[in-house]
Amino acid sequence: MEISAGDTAWILLCTALVMLMTPALGFFYAGLVGKRNALSTLLHSFFVLCLISVQFVLWGYTLAFGPSQGGLIGGLDWFGLAGVGVEPNPAYAPGVPHLAFVAFQMMFAVITPALITGAFAERVSFKAFILFTLLWSTVVYAPIAHWVWGVGGWLRVFGSLDFAGGTVVHISSGVSALVAALVIGRRLTKTEPHDATMTILGAGLLWFGWFGFNAGSALAANGLAANAFIVTNTAAAMGALTWLTVSWIHRGQPSALGAALGAVAGLVAITPAAGFVNVPASIMIGLGAGTICYLAMLLRPRLRVDDALDVWAVHGIGGTWGAVATGLFASVAVNGAGANGLFSGNPELVLKQLVAVGATWLYAGVMTAVIVKVIQLTVGLRVGEEAEVVGLDRSQHGEIAYQVD
């Protein structure tokens, strides 16, 4: 199979864009925590980038994309990337080296567990965080990625659509965040965002990287990538405008942090739909994301769960809305390899999307509860009370983010 120089250059560039999203997420989260936990929060994202970069080439990729074992998980045929070389794999990305596809998928595997760290910020021990990330990526991420994107994966065969990771990345991380926060328990004291400018910088860099995430998921430099690019930008903008407006109605003032959170909510929601919907639909998806995720954020404290940085509200609920919206707005006029949604006369797609959403919620929720409980009963989950009061920067890492109090 012939390698396309244009497609390969595009995928490698998109890989680098998606890589940037994880440190950007670190900035997004670090601005939202107290200043005594800024460095540890940044490190969570940076460390996940390092940890999963190695885990993925050793066994993550083959479990997610290797030859299917009954549609549930990939086999170990490609352990350590054995047999994976520069020749394209036509089943995944014809025209680009198989290794380029691996690198692109690796960055998705990296950012997904990093998203969860927002739920247990400011109280989890570094040791527990490492174990959780490694176990979760292996036991939760890899199987779900296989279901949805692996050749022979049961949701792929079933016909549910997820262009760039609404279920695989966002619902799985958002639901897991809620469950993890529930088991870990609340922080001793709630802190206010210590640097909103850092969060808005992080949101801007996330938005930039998201072009690689969604447009790169076309796996070729083509018209589908262009469609994914523009609907991604439109939904992000509409999500930000909507969240800001809803917060203005609700609190009497337009929130700057709300604009950042709304942009991310819009980006999350368009992720599964980016290769299947047109531009007007992306406006509706962004509008829904800004409204629904804001309401979910208001609901979360009533659940009495300290999901510190609202990962569930933005990623769990935003991803769910995006998956359902794909069932509503998808059109084969955008992507002939996709399917028509409800508004194009095919209500069956909504049901298929709901099955994918339900399966992801259930599997991610149950397995995360098991993983967190196992860690709690072995090495423990939380730092001690004194360490939490001092802050994780000093107590876990012996460093501080700022030379000022």
């Binding site: 009497g252 007007p280 406006i283 509706m284």
Partner: protein, 43 residues
């Protein structure tokens, strides 16, 4: 779909025009109190 999208955006624009802008005495995000890095020089 195009009309619905246009109406959604138009609704936001109208909201920005008609919504009152409350002036809150306390910012929702507390300013970080930065202390001077060096001691003041004695006269």
């Amino acid at each position: 779909m195009e009309l619905a999208a246009f109406a959604s955006f138009a609704l936001l624009v109208v909201a920005w025009i008609v919504l009152p802008l409350r002036s809150a005495p306390e910012p929702s995000v507390r300013a970080v109190d930065i202390e001077p890095l060096t001691e003041p020089v004695a006269a």
